[in-house]
Subunit: 273 residues, 2 copies
């Protein structure tokens, strides 16, 4: 049975969700986390709703078995496809990345014209569009699937001419479809490592400053508020246990993980699902 | 119990292995095939030997349960990592893609200098290097991992400026490590759809014609010889049943599959593993 003292569970298809872990540790330094990256079956972004929902349920059940008190779905594709199913089937509160990101985007777009970049799955699901329109039906939402950005980020090609060309290609497609935006959502947890490049190219493409929204900070704030609301914060004065990082495939997570987490991974373990 | 009349099983991590199906249908038009593409868990090329071997064993057991008489491992990463284990555990004959490709490369390299392009997994396994050196210990083998070529091929970006830049980047790295080659193995079943671009750029990079080796044809010839040797050919005068295409995730296999198979997929079904 999970209590206030229990850890927060966080999962992603791979290592991109470590950008959310980084923001959570900043907002909630006394909480301990269990992170699960499904590196054996990544990526989720190109796969169907049925497959992503099945994998997400397996992982959620696994983390509930590890007594987490709260679940953060730190993968945009899993948030887009699996959240309703997880909300119904789990006994603990949970938070996805789409709604906090959508709220921050609406607050950052005086012109009410928002662009969304994401995987094919996240874009096809229309989850950002729907979340934004629930908050403000007057906003125009323009979406662009960017399938090559995840492999670019995983290769660590953050500041190469090829990366710039690929980012520019997707921004040109976005501009052709919308003409104008003033806020741009990074709708995939891999994209924050490309944020500087995307910001620069978006400003060049649209001819003025674009608010680039990284959902990670928005999610961390939303989780902090929700823990307080539900009286699930870690008890003051106590020292939380160490964080744990679990991966379903061992290949390269230390090497790439550092890029996303901003420090070396400790307590990394392999698990089979 | 499989007989001469039974189908040949073929598997790959996704849809790349359809290039091998295409070659098999040309070499063995009377045989029927069951193809399984593990699209729910693709790609294999960035994952560890343990994970790839576990997934390959599951698929092989599934296909043996469907009474296949012969198994073709149409994925370079699975051939590189899992073949010894499958040889030990299965009761039916099988063929990977590495050894036929290595043999064709040795036969195509009068200068005894061979380049190999592949996924990170295939290159790290050194499977091509070892297979080539077993055939001729005097050959120099130079390998280059090309992680972005699979996503490029899956996106169908076959003839764009970005694809040309990425291919050129990897060929420049290869040239810097070796100086000279006269044959270049496409060590991944996704790469044949990029063959024209790779051939053109390799010729420009090395300043003379390079024999670009697509393992698919070599595998089909090797399977045809092996079936004859083991008296497993489909009985003459009979009509084989229809081919079947099974996928573990439904997303986009019809759309992308056509690119790799050269025709529309018929009899495509979803299976869970």
């Amino acid at each position: 049975m999970a209590t206030q003292n229990s850890p927060i569970g966080v999962f992603d298809s791979g290592i991109g969700g470590l950008t959310v872990v980084r923001a959570l540790k900043k907002a909630l330094p006394t909480e301990s986390l269990i992170y699960l990256g499904d590196t054996a079956r990544l990526p989720y972004g190109s796969k169907s709703a049925a497959t992503v929902t099945r994998y997400s349920s397996q992982i959620a059940d696994f983390l509930v078995g590890r007594q987490v008190k709260y679940l953060v779905v730190a993968c945009n594709t899993a948030s887009a496809y699996a959240l309703p199913h997880l909300r119904q089937s789990l006994q603990i509160p949970l938070m996805g990345v789409v709604e906090p990101g959508a709220a921050l985007a609406v607050a950052s777009s005086p012109k009410k014209k928002i662009g969304v970049l994401g995987t094919r799955g996240t874009i096809n699901s229309q989850a950002y569009r729907e979340a934004i329109l629930r908050l403000n039906p007057e906003v125009d939402v323009f979406s662009q699937a960017c399938p090559l950005l995840v492999p670019l980020a995983e290769e660590g090609w953050l500041d190469t001419a090829i990366s710039a060309d690929i980012v520019q290609h997707y921004l040109d497609l976005l501009k052709a479809s919308c003409g104008e935006i003033d806020a741009l959502v990074l709708g995939c947890t891999h994209y924050p490592v490309l944020k500087d490049l995307i910001s620069l190219r978006a400003t060049m493409t649209f001819g003025h400053q674009i608010h680039v929204i990284d959902s990670a900070d928005a999610v961390a704030d939303a989780v902090a508020k929700d823990l307080e609301l539900q009286s699930l914060e870690y008890p003051p004065g106590l020292t939380a246990g160490a964080d744990h990082f679990l991966f379903t495939d061992d290949s390269r997570f230390n090497e790439i993980g550092k890029l996303f987490l901003g420090r070396n991974l400790s307590n990394a373990e392999h698990v089979d699902l």
